[in-house]
Symmetry: D3
Subunit: 156 residues, 6 copies
């Protein structure tokens, strides 16, 4: 019973003050669920399902579905760039994508593309090495900026 | 003779106004040339030469040699992270490094690591694909930010 | 009763481990509420209320009120830049502000200026178009960096 | 005659040491000129010429033409996002694009899109106001970060 | 009793939808606790404890301990750069570190280094002044970018 | 004579192709020289001269003088933030400003504030230490992002 009272107090303060992305109305647009999708959005959602061989659609697509032309263009671009034919292995493309997302600090993209990279074979050691390279590149980029290093003639 | 006069005028205005990183004195520190290096700097320079199997030392190292502890630490870190044993292929590490540098817009690092990646086997097509992934990741990072996409439960 | 016990356990783990910005003491400074404000802070708060025609003061102002000169300078700058006379429509200024905040990934600024833009007339379609432009600019900025595109003579 | 000798010395040192993006060989790929373009690249170049009603093709397109799929996808995306139908005025879209490029510090994109914005009607005053907003947004984004401002409940 | 039911509903929705970093399994690696650490990780953890004169180890170290070489290299670098001998006061180094973290928007680093700076003597006023400088630098960096200001000859 | 011809050819190609910010007309606005300044711009320029005790006015101010309200606001803000009374030493403020500019890669700001820091007493060793801290902070910011480190309870 004490548990329950304490809990109720905590819950209310949590709902009042914390960063919870729940039950948004305005100004944030709601996620578009597959079941409520129609027209162009439904077509893209069906292609996502077919391409990825799963009925689940990630929140990213449900969110940008609020602007159908952006959904369509973004999906087609991603599908071609990350999954189309090419010389770079799909796992390598994921590592590059993840490296950029980590560098930019995009929480959503880090979470989703880390999962995608794991799916395509990224081991924990590979992730650690990836982070090392991303860290060092970010450090050395600033050393080059700060010391105002002139580009070597042979690199031009 | 007209050529010559016109040329002289152009040259002088170029030297006066353009962005030329030449003959710097203060406040920018001069590049430390191998021939003038001593002590810790000379040791690191020798290790760079031995590791890279070339007498040439890039401007990056010559610039940060102005602060020897930074030179030493940075070189040892880079040597280990980019060239040490690991699960990621050295070319893949270069691609990741280049991706970060492009994303951050570090001109020096783009020029030098693009050359390094070419040395390790990056083809023009691979470079094009790398740029596509970097571009798309930068675009989608912002779509995720702007639409304030909540992280899917399965990615946590 | 089972509900209650399960709930109590969840609540405790939430409070222990989650990102909740509640009941902060040190090191984060508390929000300065209008009721407790005095002097310079009170003056600025009164001007915010009068200018915005509402008694509500956003957390941004309550937080930076911990350093009154920053509060004063920031408010005066924002008031002039976003609301002063000019050739750019106030809605256009909000769109630009939002574009920068999305590009930088500032969660607070995205949330508050998205709301501000909606208040000034941004429709869902406009938001989608804004996000498209922000996304493409971020992508193309990196393509220009990576391909090291020389600036066309006519743009200088 | 003295002029001429001095000039010759200056010129040689300029060509040797300065940042000049001319006569690149490897590792930077050459710009693809319209005259030498074929196949997919030629098709895109023709569409750029027709859409923009000018024979001139900017260096950006000539550079990314080294990877034809990137050229095609990037052009189609840009054409649709910046020039397609929509609720945002084409000038407003340019202002947003420019704001992002300035915020990211992409020199090429700033130069080319500033010119584009001028073409679509941006006055010097509008540019000044745009810069003010971009500057203030970048400042306030960091104040929000640093003071760790919790998002107001009403913005969720 | 009503309290309890309402609370249970809230709790469940919180666990389902909110950003809670709890009970992660894959794809995010668990924090490595001191008690479970062995070998290289244990050695570094012991050095952290000895250096900082506390048994507590921050989550940052527990997280990167998933890749022991990164843990070791990062700790040694940080220890030397932030705590080693030098001309810059340790508090000044913390202010610089914090300035960069705020500029990049790294939530974890802002929280932990703000605490570290407070420990080393940063007052609330100093923090406010630091934020002012960080804000103004971010603003003016963009004004310099946007107005494409040529570097003064005397600064080269 | 051969010298002269070769030189003329070089000069012309340099002027045609290189990145030279000289003799700009449209679309880049010209620098506003003191001699041609009037009204508000002249007032601010006079205050800059008086405050800095030199007749020289940096290009930054000459460039943003194209939008007088931005000139005035930016100067007053900078003067107060960098030079006003406070707990942080003016040199420390310059170091923080420089750290942010290096992190953002703003070439102009790095050059001008490096000179300003030297003026206020920054030694070469201090600069090297500053760069180390900036580098490490940029590295560790990304490690924290990538490993998705949860904020320790004690930092909230």
């Amino acid at each position: 019973m004490d548990d329950c009272r304490e809990c109720a107090i905590l819950c209310r303060s949590l709902t009042r003050d914390s960063i919870v992305f729940r039950n948004r109305s305005s100004p944030i647009q709601p996620l578009v669920e597959y079941e409520h999708s129609t027209g162009l959005v439904r077509e893209v959602f069906d292609d996502i399902r077919a391409t990825r061989k799963t009925n689940e659609i990630n929140n990213f697509w449900k969110a940008i579905a609020n602007h159908p032309p952006t959904l369509k263009r973004t999906w087609e671009t991603l599908k071609e760039v990350m999954g189309g034919p090419g010389e770079l292995d799909p796992l390598v493309r994921e590592l590059i994508y993840l490296a950029v997302s980590v560098s930019n600090g995009c929480e959503y993209c880090i979470a989703s593309h880390r999962a995608a990279a794991v799916n395509k074979g990224m081991t924990d050691t590979m992730f650690g090495e990836l982070m090392s390279v991303v860290g060092v590149a970010n450090m050395n980029n600033r050393l080059a900026n700060g010391f105002q290093v002139p580009v070597d003639h042979k690199f031009k």
